[in-house]
Symmetry: C2
Subunit: 388 residues, 2 copies
């Protein structure tokens, strides 16, 4: 790996590129809202907090005095009630494209000094995703289209964030769902993006159909029912031209599966995380004309998704074990394991690495994230402490 030491960029030039007064840019830097990446990626800077006009996680790359922006993936808003949301938001177009929303983690890929690199949603260069993406995407696309950023989902069981076996992926894979131009963040339309992906042999998220707006909600409900039964997450509904903002909508089973994962670590689970998922269930149960039996089943599913993992955690801690969030990663170069560990530790996580095993040419290793807060709280309750 090469290390580049030119860490200071020219504020005047950068400000001009960003169309900001230099004093404003200096202020952003002083507040810590534009941070330099560590290690070999030190000519990469990420915006944190609210940068003017820029999506969260937007990245500024200093290319020896000229600059490039890799825009953060724009937050996709959620329909609570499908039918009115479609009518209101896609009123001006004839049809919408429905693509699958996969349950993994969101990654952006660009070519950086002759090698692909993968940014997480927050704009960090993830060593694991970066190593993996070399196998998933070919560089020729990025050489032919140096002005395009590829956005996709890293999905599959060997996943540091969301381990899903439902996609039939053996280890991990990358599915393109968006392409946008550097600097402006302008998206390619759905047709162009799917065509380019196909040409270059990229995996893509599934295209589930194109529907006339008046019929779309009924069709999407059918799709959501099927996806839900298979344990998939949901859909993103798009203007084919990508002019209007896309909308997401998810399955009840996926909401509940999120809660089930989160509530093993109940004391770390965000209050807002719980609240938002509960509210989605409320709106879905209103919109879907459910039988009494289906409604009871939804209630039970929601309750169980919270109580069952908590009960499991208490039982486990009582038995003397400590709970942890365990996952595996698979890499070609062993040193990526240790770089990924260091990366997680920078976020304040406490991780334990297992012994790497050979699987063909690769190394597979177990990583355990220890959730101190839930362990400590559970132990305290078991020892008879009071809640508050």
């Amino acid at each position: 790996m090469r290390y580049h030491q030119e860490t200071e960029f020219d504020i005047e030039k950068a400000a001009k590129f960003l169309e900001l007064p230099p004093s404003r840019l200096s202020e952003i830097i002083e507040k810590g809202n534009l941070r330099q990446n560590w290690d070999e990626y030190n000519s990469i800077y990420r915006f944190e907090g609210h940068a003017p006009q820029l999506e969260d996680g937007t990245v500024l790359i200093d290319k020896h005095g000229s600059f490039e922006l890799v825009r953060g993936f724009p937050k996709i808003k959620r329909a609570m009630l499908l039918e009115p949301a479609l009518k209101k938001n896609f009123n001006d177009i004839d049809s919408v494209v429905v693509e699958e929303k996969m349950n993994g983690y969101n990654v952006r890929v660009v070519d950086y000094r002759g090698q692909l690199i993968a940014f997480t949603r927050s704009g960090h260069v993830c060593p694991y995703s970066t190593e993996r993406v070399q196998n998933f995407l070919k560089r020729d696309f990025f050489m032919d289209h140096p002005d395009i950023v590829v956005y996709g989902e890293m999905a599959g069981p060997d996943n540091p964030y969301v381990q899903k076996k439902v996609y039939g992926i053996e280890s991990l894979d990358f599915f393109v769902f968006d392409m946008r131009y550097k600097n402006t963040g302008e998206p390619l339309n759905v047709g162009q993006r799917r065509k380019l992906s196909e040409e270059y042999g990229f995996n893509q998220v599934r295209l589930l159909g194109e529907f006339n707006v008046p019929q779309a909600s009924e069709k999407i409900m059918e799709i959501i029912r099927e996806l839900g039964e298979k344990g998939h997450e949901g859909v993103v509904i798009k203007d084919p031209e990508m002019v209007l903002q896309p909308i997401k909508y998810t399955c009840s089973q996926s909401n509940c599966s999120d809660l089930e994962q989160a509530f093993r670590f109940y004391n770390e689970a965000g209050r807002d995380y719980l609240f938002s998922r509960v509210v989605r269930e409320g709106f879905q149960s209103y919109e879907w004309s459910e039988s009494e039996e289906e409604f009871r089943e939804r209630c039970r599913r929601l309750g169980e998704s919270i109580l069952s993992p908590m009960k499991g955690t208490i039982t486990q801690v009582q038995s003397g074990e400590r709970i942890s969030d365990d996952f595996r990663i698979r890499v070609s170069e062993e040193n990526v394991i240790y770089r990924f560990k260091a990366y997680l530790e920078r976020f304040g996580l406490y991780v334990i690495i297992g012994t790497p095993e050979r699987i063909g040419e690769d190394y597979s290793v177990e990583i355990r994230k220890i959730n101190k807060s839930t362990n400590d709280k559970t132990l305290a309750m078991l020892e008879g402490q009071l809640w508050s």
Copy 2:
């Protein structure tokens, strides 16, 4: 009603009484952490936020230059796991007294210039509770024991906060659960308090038993099961001498009933309110060796307590109605209705008062609290807006 205008107290004297340096007291006043009551109670001041050594809601009364403290009711901590909590916290005593925790609102009563007044938990003089308490408690107790503050639960259907019919109360009643000395906040022991209450004909919370500590958790679980089935709230477990801190423990049905009430106004419902109730269910479901069927029923109950009221709200707003929190109060003097309305409005609530009806000697009136946030959010979703 008499109005007293001597609103300024002597800081030197008050500081000496509170055992604080005068500069510290001045600082507390400047920060707005010691606030004068409005209306005729302007020689009453309440501590807001953290006052040194004083419970939240503690009240300072200026009696023409001498002072008196009516201490706030101390927060009772909650057992998450009954058995270990009892063992740890009551390790040093032989037996515990179990009293019913009723579901109403917490009120403190003292004699003030020849009339009983009722403070809410936060130390406000509540005009409704003050008027009502004249019927519930006789003044002779307060004349015989001017140094004692009576703490109790205002329960029953004619209730601005928690309307419960499960106690068989026609309108509203007051149930003593604590007596403490002014200034120090020292409690009377359980026996003294129950005896005094009986002597003066006060209603008391039910005494459910006194149990040896090793057997207590089993007994209390039985009690909780019975209370739960009847829709009652739970118990407070006390050291008979009131030296060790009491502990509370509640029924699953009561947790769920809280959620059911809160989630009609889902957008006003506190995230912490939801989280804490959900966590209680998790611990209870662990500790109570439930059958699979009982666990399913608990999950369903929890889910339904959230989804059912939400569904109701969306349906109601969709039909063109607006949701509101409706309750009735019953008073002897009609002007109390308007004073209570003004009182609620001081807290920023928007309330609509119905037409008072005569019931015997009393007036009964409906009060509607309008919850703008949930109405607006629900309407927005029905109109197709996106969540965020």
